[in-house]
């Protein structure tokens, strides 16, 4: 088989007809040589640009900025830059996109840039479509993310509303339970006492009447206390109750309360040991604190057997807190009751002499203590129970 004659074109023809624009420039970009393909892309003649124009002059303004801030430093650092998309402005001011590769080489004694330019007009249209779709997809993903976030927020809201509803429902049940049972039974006993008085007034002795009146009075006291607690509780549920703290002397607050209960604990022959640090001052809502102490003290009396003892001790715990201990010598709190002592589910327990309560006192105490930025806790065993209050102090 005969060899085919060589088909490579002459060097100049080969250079001029390359299927890409080809330039040689100084490192500053001054055009030293170009091929025909580049001249066709740009729409200029050789004489117009050789040694007269720089490569950068044919770039759009955005590409010029990119060239100076990225392309040229990179080229000077590395000696080569490839695959950068620049926009060229033709002589007729139309634009064309091209990929530009540049390599710095040593020509005789000086460095020159060899630049190849590949037009990517068709590819660019496709790229722009892809770019738009990518942007759209990103926008959609962002929308999804936001709506997902909203969904999560709403489900949290629904859950917390549900929890709140459950609490409200329990509260309502408790309220009805108390109203149905605890409020009705003292009223029934009141009614039977008054009935007895009405029907048999003439046949009763003065002493019997006096005893019945005393029972009537006692029963009324309990009913009033229950009503008080219910009202306080209801008001706590119905509005955003607030604590209005002020600096109060503990002694001035406690002494009147002890006075109220004096008759009751003396009737049970209970010794009361009352001991406060000098000048002990608390920073709390005085009405709420009085409510707490009344409840704790009446509980202590209620569960201390005849002839027992109660101690009330107040000391500074830190520079900013005081501790008030109310200790009884009762039989202790059974575990099943102790576990939910401060909760809505607590039930009233009868006292040593059959004293009645309504099972919401301690729950309210805890709410008030927390509103006053304090803490309530207790410890209990067969020797008795200690309730401990930690409250902000004012030294």
């Amino acid at each position: 088989m005969a060899l085919l004659p060589p088909i490579l074109p002459e060097k100049e023809e080969w250079y001029n007809d390359l299927p890409c624009g080809y330039l040689t420039t100084s490192v500053d970009g001054i055009i030293l040589e170009v091929n025909e393909t580049f001249l066709k892309i740009i729409g200029c003649t050789r004489d117009e640009i050789i040694s007269k124009c720089s490569f950068q002059e044919f770039l759009s303004i955005g590409s010029k900025m990119y060239y100076e801030t990225h392309y040229r430093p990179l080229l000077q650092m590395q000696g080569i830059v490839t695959e950068v998309n620049l926009v060229f402005i033709r002589r007729d001011e139309s634009q064309t996109h091209a990929l530009v590769n540049t390599k710095q080489i040593k020509n005789k004694q000086s460095l020159v840039n060899q630049i190849m330019i590949f037009e990517i007009t068709q590819r660019k249209v496709y790229e722009q479509e892809l770019f738009l779709m990518k942007e759209k997809a990103e926008a959609l993903a962002e929308e999804l993310r936001i709506s997902n976030e909203n969904l999560v927020k709403q489900s949290h809201l629904v859950r917390s509303q549900n929890e709140r509803l459950e609490v409200l429902n329990e509260t309502k049940d408790k309220f009805f339970g108390i109203v149905c049972h605890d409020l009705r039974s003292p009223l029934n006993s009141l009614k039977s006492l008054t009935y007895l008085l009405l029907r048999q007034y003439d046949s009763l002795t003065q002493a019997q009447i006096s005893k019945m009146m005393s029972e009537l009075n006692h029963s009324l006291e309990g009913t009033i206390k229950l009503a008080d607690n219910l009202i306080t509780w209801a008001s706590l549920q119905m509005r955003e109750a607030k604590a209005c703290p002020e600096t109060v002397s503990m002694d001035e607050l406690l002494t009147p309360i002890l006075g109220i209960y004096k008759a009751v604990y003396e009737a049970k022959e209970i010794r009361v040991n009352y001991q406060l640090a000098d000048g002990l001052k608390v920073y709390s809502d005085p009405n709420q604190l009085a409510f707490i102490v009344r409840n704790l003290l009446s509980n202590a009396i209620k569960f201390t057997p005849v002839g027992g003892s109660i101690s009330i001790v107040g000391t500074y715990e830190t520079d900013h807190h005081l501790r008030l201990l109310i200790k009884d010598s009762g039989a202790g709190i059974p575990k099943h009751i102790a576990d939910k002592l401060f909760s809505m589910m607590a039930k009233s327990t009868r006292g040593t002499e059959g004293e009645e309560g309504n099972g919401i006192g301690l729950m309210l105490c805890k709410q008030f203590v927390e509103m006053n930025k304090g803490d309530i806790s207790f410890s209990t065993d067969k020797e008795g129970t200690v309730f401990s209050l930690l409250l902000p102090a004012n030294v």
Binding site: D28, M65, Y66, T69, H70, L86
Partner: protein, 268 residues
């Protein structure tokens, strides 16, 4: 912020133990590697400190806070943080392009750290305003963003720079690969917008320390008119026009740049 955290955040490199410090700050689009032809020339008299702005080069990209870096003061505060944490004093700050203004803002806020500022291709405002020529219009910025977008498609994976042996210049170490252009596209666009929308013309007169302005011939990013404006507004300034063209004389004409800085330091 402690020392190690800051060194990691700004990819700080320190060499030498001279009392006087030369602190180099790169411009938009680049990183600290661009100082490699300049910094060694001053290592005999200065402790050399180089760093990358957060979001550029090998800085900690996670530390890029779009609010903090929504103006140049955020970057200036980083410069002051670096001086404070590394106990740098007697600092000669060398800032290229946008970093010239970052250095100026830092020196206006706390001049005590600095002896002088050398500004390479500074511009206080790139956009044309009523009576002021900055060189660019808002449309030009949009075009730059388009170009950035076009070149971030597949940029990071295919743009691995080829390191070539160049007898005129020291060979680039292997670890420098990619660091020049692997900036996060979103951060790069944000930095571009913050840079080219900045206007610090009013701050120029507040600079109290000495400064050298190195202006290139035919620089489209910071044209000669802008360099002259900067020199006119700053009180204790020296203006020097370099023969080098373009925006990065420290890369295209390192010898001329070094000579200009040395001459200035000798006279001051």
């Amino acid at each position: 912020m402690d020392n190690t955290k800051m060194v990691r955040r700004n990819n700080i490199s320190i060499s030498g133990d001279h009392n006087k410090v030369m602190l180099f700050a790169h411009g938009y689009g680049c990183d600290q590697n661009m100082w490699r032809f300049i910094a060694p020339a001053f290592a005999d008299k200065f402790k050399i400190v180089l760093f990358d702005h957060v979001g550029s080069g090998k800085s900690d990209k996670v530390a890029y806070d779009y609010t903090k870096y929504s103006n140049l003061q955020g970057y200036a505060d980083d410069v002051l943080g670096i001086c404070e944490t590394l106990h740098l004093t007697n600092v000669t700050f060398v800032g290229h392009s946008v970093s010239a203004m970052i250095g100026l803002l830092a020196a206006v806020k706390q001049p005590d750290f600095f002896e002088q500022i050398i500004m390479v291709g500074p511009s206080p405002c790139y956009l044309n305003k009523e009576d002021y020529f900055g060189g660019f219009s808002k449309n030009d910025l949009d075009e730059l963003l388009h170009t950035l977008n076009s070149n971030y498609l597949g940029w990071s994976s295919t743009m691995a720079p080829v390191i070539m042996g160049n007898p005129d210049k020291p060979a680039l170490a292997k670890e420098l690969e990619n660091s020049f252009c692997n900036n996060d596209p979103a951060i790069a666009k944000h930095f571009a917008m913050v840079t080219f929308n900045s206007d610090n013309r009013k701050d120029l007169a507040k600079l109290s320390i000495n400064s050298l302005i190195l202006q290139c011939t035919s620089d489209i990013i910071a044209p000669q008119l802008v360099g002259e404006y900067v020199a006119g507004q700053i009180k204790k300034s020296t203006y020097h026009l370099l023969k080098s063209t373009g925006h990065c004389p420290h890369l295209s004409a390192p010898d001329e740049t070094i000579e200009a800085i040395k001459n200035y330091l000798e006279r001051n």
